[in-house]
Subunit: 485 residues, 2 copies
Amino acid sequence: MGSFTLSGKTATLSDILRMLSPRSVAVIGASSDAESLRGRLMQVMLGHPYAGRVYPVSRSATEICGLAAYRSVAELPEIVDLAVLIIPARFVAEELERCGRAGIRTALILASGFAEEPGDDGAARQAEIKRIARRYGMAVSGPNSEGFANLAASLVPTFSPVMEFEEGAGPAASAARRPQLAVIAQSGGMGFAFYDRGRATGLDFRYVVTTGNEVCLETFDYVDALLDEGSVDIFLLLLEDVKRSDTFERVAAKALAAGKPLIVSKIGQSEPGQRAAAAHTAADAGDYARYRALFERYGVIEGRDHDEMLDIAAAFAAFGTRLPAGNRVGICTASGGGGGWLADACVAAGLEVPILDPLTRAAIDVHLPPYGTSQNPVDGTAQAIFSLGYAELARLVAASPEVDGVMVVASTRRAHTLERDRAALTALAQTATKPILFWSYTEIAPESVAVLGEAGLPLYRGMHNCARGMRAMAAYRAARERFLR
Amino acid sequence: MGSFTLSGKTATLSDILRMLSPRSVAVIGASSDAESLRGRLMQVMLGHPYAGRVYPVSRSATEICGLAAYRSVAELPEIVDLAVLIIPARFVAEELERCGRAGIRTALILASGFAEEPGDDGAARQAEIKRIARRYGMAVSGPNSEGFANLAASLVPTFSPVMEFEEGAGPAASAARRPQLAVIAQSGGMGFAFYDRGRATGLDFRYVVTTGNEVCLETFDYVDALLDEGSVDIFLLLLEDVKRSDTFERVAAKALAAGKPLIVSKIGQSEPGQRAAAAHTAADAGDYARYRALFERYGVIEGRDHDEMLDIAAAFAAFGTRLPAGNRVGICTASGGGGGWLADACVAAGLEVPILDPLTRAAIDVHLPPYGTSQNPVDGTAQAIFSLGYAELARLVAASPEVDGVMVVASTRRAHTLERDRAALTALAQTATKPILFWSYTEIAPESVAVLGEAGLPLYRGMHNCARGMRAMAAYRAARERFLR
């Protein structure tokens, strides 16, 4: 296992995993006051069925949210796996020192008021934290962080409002193991927003980690540890800066070798974005061109916003083991206009939409009215969709040696066509050797989401994101083959 | 008023308006069979409270959906304002001729099987329709169209599934007249999808017109007529081709002079997109670079998909009379990461995010904790948003002479912060002299949509669309000032 501090005592990747999956947690600064962030944190944590032990630590209260409170970490009945510090910045160093002396090896610091603050005081406080962490060899997350969520363990040390809407015990149990996602972001608001937007779509999130100022641990340290742990299949990373490019290169190579895509967005591509990153997490956002070159070298996939990154992840979640061998897509559609518009989007994303081979066309033509076309985009017209169904038309197109993946343009306003086609859609998803993605031009009925989700076929609202998803899979496969060669 | 046929008798713009707002309609090929398109059309039409008269015309039935049916248009009790033809392509010419002889001046042809079909038969049928239209000076919409919707009149001669979900009488009556939208698209599926996606957002649609093969009337003829009519403020146009560039230039100039933005997307930017357009509506999609040059000359705004076009329209609907004087935006945020990410999106869209002036900064700084910043993006932090509210922070930023518009980064997962701020948000929207747009990084609560919608402030899900909306307004104002100079 790698290590990540360069001097002083050394924390290990297993410490990071202990932080993310602790058996016991002390909350230093805990409160029952639901109007305060400290009280919200307790409410959110205790609102989830975490099986480990939670110890509130408070100088003023003896009981918090029904739990006995302790005056100091020194008085706890055990050496906890994780200390969460939600106290004013000026008290953090003193408490962190106390944690170190008590033998606690991991800490999460939620307070703001460190290097992101103008002037010298905050920077000095941050340097002091770094010194303490090294002295005791502690793994420290933050400061200026919004905490994290281990959804599989229902452990959510955060005051993120997003987690107040949780309904319980993390990803739904399902017969087949579905690909697991981890989100890692410096920004708490942005990080939890991935989960907030993505959970409704049927993606399985395992971790959301917000990293703040990254005084000790940075984004790629968490990726490194989670690659060792092995439960995460797809990573969504929102970066303000990369503090150690050697760590980045080593971890990106490790992820690529493991076939676990890193889907990133880099804040600070513009001058005002860089100014914002510096003010936000004291990040030195650096030269974006240099980042792009590194991303390209290691098959790191860039997305431009929450939804695009989630949509790319959805493509990998469904077809990550059946990546397209090239950039050529077949489009089938009931709407001629939709097929043409999506073809433009495909080309803009770097895909090709070639004319299909004669054998495939002949197999399709027998089902088309004279005003349809099998060229590609294949305009099945409403008539052929009605008689064949989306699944069979997609199967015919996917069989063409001229295409590496298929996109289906659908109206999912009503689910009845899909519901009638349920068995064929499931069979298609299971037997397909090429990715098959759906784009709905109309509003999407919840029943349509359910039918396609159960079948295992991704459904997109944005045609550009659908095209980007396909293109990202093809680019990732090419980068990986180049890398492993 | 202009005219639009080049030879033969001439229909006028008032004929187009009569077609879109008829007092009486004959449906040739009407049926009671809800499983057929002909029956669906009747169901959809009669499911809306249209105040005019509807006459089914059928060779086989004497009553359809509770209405007396007529064997021929020649037998109708009046000369109807509009004939809708939903019959097989091979019978269309004969029936259209009969309409012309009966003195009917406008016709909508829904059948497919014309010039979009390979081979000569379809093209010949289309040429025959053109001849008949000219002979009688009829305004003919289609063929190969999915019909239209006049939402103010609750007239919906279409079988679009989107219109089956209508709840009644078109745009909600409200005290203040809100800007009205018209959608015009060659593709039926794509055209009605604008309405389907947009109606939930509070946009007021007045017309959706799908134009099919455009044998007589093309997109800009409808725009021309609706500019004369005057009820439409914003146009959303999905083009496969422009058949007469002189018409386009004249109408685009007329729209720009009237201050009524044309928001377009052009299908056929790529080779496969052009192939699809040809197969779909026999369109010659042509050279995209030429289109772009024309769009630029006349301030025509390009959007890349449904949601981007609708999001741009939402910006104009709220701030069309208070367009930004330049490209400089102020960003205020409770999430430092969100501010930086949006700043990048703004720069990518062609906007600037300048550092604010000292006076404005001083007015903001008194409300910020030390770890916030007033530079721009203005990171108010959760603390300042809680004490000031989004409206007051936006007002302070908008007062800066350094910015032409403001964007607010918000979490709208819970509506309580906005609800508490309701009066201030309404006052802000009413008194602002610069556009103020909201972007939510979390999922959006329906109550948040309601509060901001009632206040008159657009709320975006996609940060890039928010930036594009602001940029489009600035570009439109600049183009218009150049044009009127």
